[in-house]
């Protein structure tokens, strides 16, 4: 119920906005199908990457990891981030594409 919104951040999209986009992409030619699926998969991977990274940062702050563990974790996350960038480039996807619209639950990322 939008009468609860006193102040909204800029860049707000209309309530009925991008919902059709993903399915429209999937329904087109084979290349688009592949791109649509890549978008779906990469969004999930990106979400998981962010979650893991956030947990890692939490653990580092807690002081519950050894220096060696932090180095290994950091290396892995760095490589993961680089790989994600490569994949996004390969499929021509921007960060804004990797933002699944879940309807009333808002965007995933």
């Amino acid at each position: 119920m939008s009468d609860k919104v006193l102040i909204a951040p800029a860049g707000g999209r209309p309530a009925a906005g991008h919902r059709g986009e993903l399915s429209r992409r999937i329904n087109a030619d084979p290349e688009s199908v592949e791109r649509g699926l890549a978008q779906l998969v990469l969004t999930i991977v990106e979400l998981l990457r962010q979650l893991v990274e956030r947990q890692a940062l939490h653990r580092v702050e807690d002081g519950t990891l050894s220096e060696e563990q932090i180095e290994r974790l950091g290396q892995t996350l760095m490589l993961l981030a680089e790989r994600m960038d490569e994949l996004k480039r390969e499929f021509g996807l921007q960060d804004s594409d990797l933002n699944l619209d879940l309807g009333p639950l808002g965007r995933l990322l």
């Binding site: 119920m1 006193l6 951040p9 800029a10 580092v60 220096e67 950091g74 996350l77």
Partner: protein
Amino acid sequence: MIYLYAVVERRAGPPAAAGLEDAPLEALRLDRLAVICSRHAEKVFAPQAEALWRHDRVVEEAMRGGPALPVRFGTTFDEERRALAALAAQAPRLARRLHEVRGCVELAVRVEPSSPWPTVAARTGIGYLGAKLERRRAARSLAEQALSPLDALAVASRRLAPSAAGLRASYLVPSARVERFADAVRGLCDRGLRVSCTGPWPPYSFVEDEV
């Protein structure tokens, strides 16, 4: 099964509203307190939009008759006796909270930096995580500084766990001061920050002790 919406001061009757599944509301009394509830066949409730808004609506209607403490979504008891026992166990604390929230509403504020952070470039794993941590701390410090003037306008404030986007805070504000508070939040928008404010809400964040 009894579904609970809010704890209130003892009063004549339940609010004039419908509960979940359009069930009629009741007020179960215990000394100086009462709990607003409805009865249902054995069932669980999905935290979907409609049910959430309905629960919130019941609490807001209850607030018309005096202070109300919202109960967490999905709280049920299979017997009236047990619900009242649970209420009795916390009665003194709840009575104090009702006094504290009298005449107040909750406002929800979110703050995040408006420009994206540049990509972290590092050579070592420690360097990478260190840079990310530093970036996160800087963002939070910025947001905290921005929020500090709001504390002066509120009776109380709580921070929710930071989200991916940024800081989230709840403010307990006297009803008469809501517009002034909203103006203060708008003032934050100029400082390279993206801000949102929703409400007024029942005092969800001010009923339990802080962890």
